[in-house]
């Protein structure tokens, strides 16, 4: 086969494979950030709910910053300033750090809402049985509040998965970046965007299905 003279070339099976790998990278960075961010966010939400002065004065405004400054700005700033602070992170590492903090800022509000949803009377009832503060959190607040705000959390998770595309500005070749590369080469934007879109759908659909089933089982 003679080498193509054209700079452009058609979309082929290798490209599909290329997109698939990029999709796995999207999945991986999202999974990591969402998991870490959720754990951190639950902790923040609890701190906000307990309303200790320090949390209200420092944490709340800080989380507000991360929620309101566009993610792309956070990513670029962090990636460029992290080395100054002695942190040498690759694009993936920087992406995980920022996405995690961003997720935790969103989850913090969700988690606080979940704790509020349980209500003092129910928790008093639990405590009156001799159940300790931490047992109450573990056996009463977490399962009941968690179910109440689960749909909101799924919304956050799916949003973060889509927002993870922004890590591409740092050079991390995830799904969206891979599509752009292919579009430049093949000049077939529609085909490639459809394939990429299908990948995003394939990533998030199982999550929403699974979530829906879970909610149904809770409703008994």
């Amino acid at each position: 086969m003679e080498p193509s003279l054209s700079f452009f070339s058609d979309f082929n099976i290798n490209d599909f494979w290329f997109l698939g790998q990029a999709a796995v990278r999207t999945l991986w960075i999202s999974l990591l950030s969402i998991s870490l961010g959720t754990v951190l966010g639950i902790f923040f939400g609890w701190a906000l709910y307990e309303g200790k002065l320090a949390a209200t004065l420092t944490l709340a405004p800080l989380l507000d910053v991360f929620r309101s400054v566009p993610l792309i700005i956070q990513l670029v700033l962090f990636y460029n300033f992290a080395p100054i602070m002695g942190l040498n992170l690759d694009p993936f590492g920087s992406g995980v750090v920022i996405l995690t903090i961003y997720t935790s800022a969103l989850v913090a509000n969700v988690a606080r809402g979940g704790i509020e949803a349980v209500g003092k009377p129910l928790r008093n009832a639990a405590r009156s049985l001799g159940i300790s503060y931490w047992q109450d959190l573990r056996y009463i607040v977490f399962p009941i509040g968690g179910r109440a705000v689960f749909p909101a959390w799924v919304g956050v998770a799916l949003g973060v998965m889509k927002d993870s595309a922004l890590v591409s500005v740092l050079g991390y070749v995830e799904l969206l970046k891979a599509s752009q590369i292919l579009i430049t080469r093949t000049q077939e934007p529609f085909l490639i965007l459809i394939v990429a879109g299908a990948f995003y759908f394939a990533l998030s659909y199982p999550i929403s299905r699974y979530a829906a089933n879970l909610e149904k089982s809770w409703a008994q």
Binding site: S128, L129, Q135, I144
Partner: protein, 240 residues
């Protein structure tokens, strides 16, 4: 025995309990009556340490409830509490609701906890609802579930805070019957109640609260038949 000595409770500037002195002996059933806002619920909350106190002392089984070194979780195991709102744990079935505390507080095995739970569900007449979730139970059934849940900890005392006030009229009876049963079995009970017939028929003593003060305490026949305080008379005239 529950001993309450010169108990004062404030919510901020609001003086809610103004020097309560009260003793409840083993096996006694005490009904607490009084108008809304007189501090009846607050008294129960203070007794089992859900609210702090500002002055005085509450002693349960010789343990000073509000002393710094007191482990409240241990004290509370000895005092079951039933609230106006039944507060079932919505994510657990009836038997799981009752088995939870024996399991996680007392460290009973799963099988043991279930056995305890089943016997208490039978006690309150809910054996046909073992695997039902609370949202499938009526208010009266959920309130009996709450009673079973408290009894599963084998308490020495039961505190009832208007256990029937939030119930539809036709469901009040089944819960009062359960409370009566406990009284007959010799349970020591403090019942904040608006059910005057229960107070009269079931209790050994009745206490009347007015504006943070226990104005009067005595046998049901004395309180209902010959009330000493003006406020008691007015209150009884209103609820009759």
């Amino acid at each position: 025995m529950i001993q309450i000595r010169d108990l004062h409770k404030y919510f901020g500037p609001l003086h809610v309990l103004k020097g309560i002195n009260l003793e409840v002996k083993k096996g006694e059933v005490l009904s607490v009556i009084g108008s809304s806002g007189s501090g009846k619920s607050t008294l129960l909350y203070c007794i089992n340490g859900l609210e702090t106190i500002q002055k005085g002392d509450i002693i349960v089984n010789d343990i000073h409830v509000h002393a710094k070194q007191t482990n409240l979780n241990q004290v509370r195991q000895k005092m079951g509490m039933v609230f106006q709102q039944w507060n079932s744990f919505p994510h657990l079935t009836a038997v799981e609701n009752v088995a939870l505390a024996p399991k996680i507080v007392k460290g009973k095995s799963k099988a043991e906890a279930r056995k305890i739970a089943l016997s208490q569900l039978e006690h309150v007449g809910l054996l046909d609802k073992v695997d039902a979730y609370p949202n499938a139970l009526s208010g009266g059934q959920q309130q009996r579930l709450a009673i079973a849940r408290a009894l599963a900890m084998e308490p020495d005392y039961m505190l009832f805070d208007e256990a029937t006030s939030a119930l539809d009229p036709e469901l009040v009876g089944e819960v009062l019957d359960t409370m009566r049963l406990l009284a007959e079995e010799g349970m020591t009970m403090i019942c904040v109640t608006h059910e005057m017939s229960f107070a009269r028929d079931v209790s050994d003593r009745v206490a009347f609260f007015h504006d943070g003060v226990m104005e009067e305490i005595g046998s049901p026949s004395q309180i209902f038949g010959a009330p000493q305080s003006e406020h008691t008379r007015k209150f009884l005239a209103k609820v009759r």
